[in-house]
């Protein structure tokens, strides 16, 4: 069942085209990743789906409702905006209760969501006193308190250090486990690859690919790479069919077959070679191959 269906969405800011003829769908119960660098149109798309912006062209349905039925959509979705912040001087519980009140939810609903996100212990602490990761969890709690059918998380881990980012990932996985559909925007490729059932890659306002991370990798015939220090003996050890390239004092041995790659790495190790690196093709390679650039930690193309 499709919970989001976007058809040819286009949005312009003056002469700048933020998103250009974007179409995709999100299935019920999946984590859909919307991956792209800064300024690629991720937030514009998600804000259109949240009924916070109107598209210049195209249309979308969220949970079966047309975008014109904004109030019906807003009643049924959970939202955590980009650069989320809450009322600094209110406690965790008060901030969540504020949103609960708007949705006419009860104290029990607040408790349920605080429990779910392990926030019950810190419910009396002011928002400003919390760590970055806990603040994001509060944001997710506020997005969940109305028991939405789909949760939009716009860059929920941006600016967090890797360790805290992982705690937020655990929460997102938990959302899927309790049956929520998650629409996740991110510029972290690793995040999309680890969490998402399907990923839409958006660059300069256009979707360049949509599929599961594994299918995206497979579709491009990306190679497994065994990397080892340059040594003439290496060439004699490799018996399998593989492409060997010399790069900066290293041999990169590339093959399409994961088992062959593993075997080569094993044989090299048995012959006394150290620092052997076996690299499995991933979403980052997909992005590099499709776009010709990487996304930096700050979200820029490089």
């Amino acid at each position: 069942m499709k919970v989001v269906e976007a058809e040819s969405l286009t949005k312009k800011y003056g002469k700048i085209i933020a998103i250009d003829n974007v179409s995709f769908h999100v299935d019920k119960g999946e984590i859909f990743g919307y991956l792209g660098p800064n300024g690629s149109g991720k937030t514009t798309t998600v804000e259109i789906l949240e009924c916070l912006r109107k598209p210049d062209a195209g249309n979308a349905k969220v949970l079966g409702y047309d975008l014109k039925e904004a109030n019906e959509i807003k009643k049924r979705i959970g939202v955590m905006p980009q650069n989320f912040a809450a009322f600094d001087l209110l406690t965790v519980e008060e901030n969540v209760a504020l949103i609960a009140k708007i949705y006419k939810k009860t104290k029990e609903d607040v408790k349920r969501v605080l429990d779910l996100l392990n926030l019950w212990e810190v419910r009396k602490r002011k928002y400003e006193e919390l760590s970055g990761g806990t603040q994001r969890r509060v944001g997710i709690a506020m997005a969940l308190v109305n028991d939405p059918e789909i949760v939009f998380l716009d860059e929920p881990t941006v600016g967090l250090d890797p360790e805290i980012r992982r705690t937020v990932w655990q929460v997102i996985v938990k959302l899927k486990e309790v049956g929520k559909t998650v629409f996740l925007t991110t510029h972290y490729i690793e995040e999309a690859e680890r969490l998402c059932d399907r990923v839409g890659i958006i660059v300069k306002g256009k979707i360049v690919a949509i599929d599961s991370p594994r299918n995206l990798v497979n579709s491009l015939n990306l190679k497994y790479v065994v990397r080892v220090k340059k040594d003439p003996k290496v060439l004699s050890i490799i018996r399998e069919e593989a492409e060997v390239i010399e790069e900066n004092g290293y041999f990169s041995i590339k093959t399409d077959n994961r088992l062959i790659a593993r075997k080569i790495a094993y044989e090299l190790e048995m012959n006394g070679f150290e620092e052997i690196e076996l690299k499995t093709p991933n979403l980052e390679d997909v992005f590099l191959k499709m776009i010709g650039a990487k996304i930096t930690e700050a979200g820029e193309l490089a």
Partner: protein, 421 residues
């Protein structure tokens, strides 16, 4: 030293780029200078409204000579804007019936016999002076007996004349309320004027007595006057100095975006802000009234109608200024800019609305500005309902506040974009 210069440069740049910093460091002092300069450095431009009732008239209804000169002098002084109060009107009742309009509650009554009092006092003063001089001359060794005898006869004549002069004690009556914001200035100016009149008209230092009459239904102090003023000021300052930056900050930090992603309606958001302001106002009012009562013995009018009107005015004032605050906070995305604009509007209103200074102390062009200030109408209504107990300007003030509230409500609803645009 280089580091200090570098640090100084950094702070200066930050200050230069802070709109509120610029406002309070550069524009605000100039604003104060202009306002206070206008108020205090051009006293010749200040005119006080004053009623004059002349009871010193003959049977033919014609005013006595000196009372006419006195009124003419008041007119020509340029300090007073004189209106004549007919003789058949009771001055005290008239003053009391004018309620909140202080300008119409200032009356000077020239008593019956004023002309005779001044003439007789002048003659008496001249005779007393002459008697003293002759007594000194009689002791002089340079006069012969004939001369001394002549002087003695003249002295006796003068003493007889002095005995014949009967002065009926009269005094100029000044009806004024101590709650009148111009009370101190006006009494001081009138005292000087009457003293000068006594000296210059008679050529002698005739002291014309003045009797001050409190016309307040209750005796009011400065504290009584300022309690409603401070409440009005708080209503304005909460909205213009505080709320503007808060709303802008909610937008900048994305909290506003989180709220509009819910089914909450725009009007619910705006009225929610209003309710928070209203709670704040009622709390601060309770505190101010309590402090005023216990520390300064401030007594407010407590009859139910007055209390109702005061609360109604507070609600209207809070509505009006909250919506102004919402408009400013909505237009400007930077909290600093929004707060600065709130200050740019709020500070002039603070000084030009009769909250701390009577508006008649200001030049006429500033008085015209006050007529456009919602704070002026709020302060007037609170003053009338809380301390004066009469409603003269209240109906029109309430109407203006209500109209302004509706206008700014429409503006805030129109300008608050319920989208992420």
């Amino acid at each position: 030293m280089k580091n200090s210069i570098f640090i100084g440069n950094v702070f200066f740049k930050s200050w230069l780029r802070s709109r509120s910093g610029l406002f309070f460091s550069l524009i605000f002092p100039v604003l104060l200078l202009v306002i206070f300069g206008s108020i205090f450095s051009n006293p010749q431009n200040i005119t006080f409204s004053l009623y004059v009732q002349n009871k010193d008239v003959g049977n033919d209804g014609k005013a006595s000579q000196l009372s006419s000169i006195f009124i003419d002098s008041l007119n020509k002084s340029g300090v007073f804007k004189i209106s004549i109060l007919p003789n058949d009107v009771d001055a005290l009742n008239f003053a009391r019936s004018q309620g909140g309009i202080f300008e119409q509650r200032r009356i000077i009554v020239i008593p019956k016999g004023f002309n005779d009092f001044v003439i007789n006092s002048t003659e008496k003063a001249q005779l007393e002076q002459g008697i003293n001089q002759i007594q000194i001359l009689l002791n002089s060794p340079y006069l012969n007996e004939t001369q001394k005898e002549m002087l003695s006869n003249f002295l006796n004549y003068m003493k007889d004349r002095l005995k014949q002069i009967k002065i009926e004690n009269v005094s100029l009556e000044i009806y004024i309320s101590k709650a009148d914001p111009a009370y101190e200035q006006l009494i001081s100016i009138l005292n000087n004027f009457i003293s000068e009149f006594g000296s210059s008209t008679t050529g002698n230092g005739v002291n014309i007595p003045i009797q001050e009459k409190e016309i307040g239904i209750r005796a009011l102090s400065a504290s009584d006057y300022y309690v409603p003023s401070y409440i009005a000021f708080t209503i304005m300052s909460n909205a213009l100095f505080g709320l503007t930056g808060v709303i802008s900050d909610l937008r900048r930090r994305g909290i506003f975006k989180r709220v509009i992603a819910t089914p909450l309606r725009k009007y619910e958001w705006i009225f929610g802000i209003f309710f928070s302001q209203l709670i704040l106002i009622f709390l601060s009012t309770v505190i101010m009234v309590a402090v005023g009562y216990f520390a300064f013995k401030v007594m407010l009018v407590t009859n139910p109608i007055n209390v109702f009107v005061a609360i109604f005015a507070m609600i209207l004032g809070t509505l009006c200024f909250t919506f102004i605050g919402v408009v400013i906070g909505t237009i400007f995305k930077q909290p600093d800019t929004a707060a600065t604009l709130g200050s740019v509007i709020g500070f002039p209103l603070m000084f030009l609305s009769g909250v701390f200074f009577p508006i008649e102390l200001m030049p006429i062009y500033l008085q015209i500005v006050a007529a456009f200030s919602p704070l002026y109408y709020l302060a007037v209504t609170l003053r009338e309902s809380m301390i004066q107990g009469v409603f003269i300007l209240t109906p029109i003030s309430i109407s203006i506040l209500a109209l302004l509230s509706i206008a700014f409500l429409i503006a805030s609803l129109y300008l608050t974009k319920w989208t992420a645009e």
